[in-house]
Symmetry: C2
Subunit: 326 residues, 2 copies
């Protein structure tokens, strides 16, 4: 599993114990609750992700001298918020397989799914409030608003224009905004000044954009078993991501793609053909280069940060995210 791979990579050495404490803190949230809910939450947390956001909180906060207990609470809060948005997302987009495991939505009633998401929101808010900072709570609430607004825009307005600016805006709301939360709020807890806050905002933003571009590339280049969904599933849902944007720039007349952009439906064979053409094109390498550009900017933002194992780990994380075999 990816998670194990990441949490055993060497650059996370300085926060290994803290990451485990965050894990325990998250799992305890449901321990005293109803058996089925507890089981569902343990399931979600076990399936769940690479703990990138907690790692960002811990590395940034420890680098800037924030109180450890508050960082643990904040890290757990942000990961729970992330998981809560995934739970409601599953209800919304009907993605019955996420990360290769059946989601709650496939097993449960919509009611149970909504409430499980709400439960995680509530626990996330409680943990965030325990971090004891008004600024952090404001940032937390603001981030939730950005994420939900992004989902609403997508639901009401559809996939939107096939242009880079719209794409960056969408993935900022969807992904990078929470990376910003995970870097700026621990910096706040560490009492960082405006310059350091701006640098950590830049780092979180650019890292988040890079991460999402990579994710969007993997949607084309990954294999179905590992993705837990068909290759090209974004495009199948009418969602135009970076690989498709790059492909479009070189092949503005591709017929099935033009049809999709015009909101017309295409046959399964046309869709398969288009996905194959994108996979085989230079668009994948170009999208990867765009992700690396953001990762480099993220690293540059760290130049003013205190040297040491934590800064080195943040740099290594940016490198790790884009250094994948597509």
């Amino acid at each position: 599993m990816e998670r194990q791979r990441l949490t055993t990579v060497s650059f996370l050495e300085p926060i290994q114990e803290s990451l485990q404490a965050v894990e325990d803190l998250m799992r305890r949230q449901a321990a005293e609750h109803h058996h089925d809910l507890n089981a569902a939450l343990q399931h979600l947390l076990s399936a769940g992700g690479k703990r990138l956001r907690p790692a960002l909180v811990l590395l940034t906060g420890e680098m800037l001298g924030a109180d450890r207990e508050r960082l643990l609470t904040l890290a757990a809060a942000i990961e729970l918020l992330h998981t809560a948005t995934l739970v409601h997302d599953d209800l919304i987009d009907g993605a019955l397989l996420r990360r290769g495991i059946p989601t709650l939505n496939a097993h449960w009633s919509p009611a149970a799914t909504v409430l499980t998401g709400d439960f995680m929101f509530a626990r996330a808010a409680r943990l965030a409030a325990l971090a004891g900072s008004v600024e952090v709570m404001q940032l937390f609430a603001e981030t939730l608003a950005i994420i939900v607004d992004g989902e609403i825009t997508q639901l009401f307005d559809g996939p939107g224009l096939a242009d880079r600016e719209a794409y960056y805006r969408r993935i900022y709301a969807k992904t990078a905004s929470m990376f910003v939360l995970a870097t700026v709020s621990p910096a706040r807890l560490g009492g960082a000044g405006e310059e350091a806050l701006a640098a950590m905002r830049r780092y979180g933003h650019d890292l988040g954009i890079a991460y999402q571009i990579v994710d969007d590339i993997l949607d084309f280049t990954g294999d179905q078993a590992r993705l837990g969904k068909p290759v090209g599933s974004d495009l199948r849902h009418g969602l135009i991501t970076m690989p498709t944007l790059c492909y479009l720039e070189h092949h503005p007349d591709d017929k099935p793609l033009r049809a999709i952009l015009a909101g017309e439906s295409v046959s399964e064979a046309e869709m398969e053909g288009l996905i194959e053409r994108i996979r085989a094109s230079e668009a994948i390498a170009q999208a990867a280069e765009d992700a690396r550009r953001f990762a480099r900017r993220a690293m540059e933002a760290l130049e003013i940060m205190p040297e040491g194992a934590h800064r080195a780990a943040l740099i290594a994380m940016a490198d790790y995210i884009v250094k994948r075999d597509f």
Copy 2:
């Protein structure tokens, strides 16, 4: 409409302008957003309730000298939180008519409903964070957790035992916890000491319990057109509320009721008959007396509060809530 009735009652005179400012603040939350979402929110807010919670925030906060701007933000935050829980509730219990108007759920996709609720949660959290108090944020998050936990318990465990303690616990989670939020957090903003905080907690709790008992009585005694749902709808959903509990104490052998308590289904005619018997019994007056007992305790809690128009209004509100023609 009930709302107009309440907001024009004389005891709200001292906060009339503030209530209007809260209304404007809530409506502005969606003004810049997508047209459909904005329309939905205006619809929800127009349909929405008697603004009891904002009135409690304003009366308590002004009585205890809290900053007016913060009170307005807090009042809007709590009412939005309340509305958000109603939106998700509608999705959960499928109550397609609430307060006699079609809910979002009847018009919209589940996805749009979940996101509209999430949007209101996010805006509520943002406004609450703007009130600028860590204690208030903690209370806010704690209350959300209590409400969601209550809904989860009900969903997973079913209606539960037919006993008063279980009933009081359930309506605390469902209703009184948010009344407590609406009285304790403005007291916090006003810098109240422990004794005053405890008094306002008592008042909020007992008022909320009284309010919910009255609501549960109206479910039996109201007429279908005004309720927007069939008479006795709680019992039809297997939910045992105060009138049924009182009836059960005097008629422990009522056959259809015993069947319902045993989790068995009853015929429509049996259900109609049972509802009629409860309506016609002394249970209604007994439940009303229980509500009045809580309302009196709520009033008594205010004895240590500063005299004046605001305290008088809080007393009048407790009186108003239980002084209805059943």
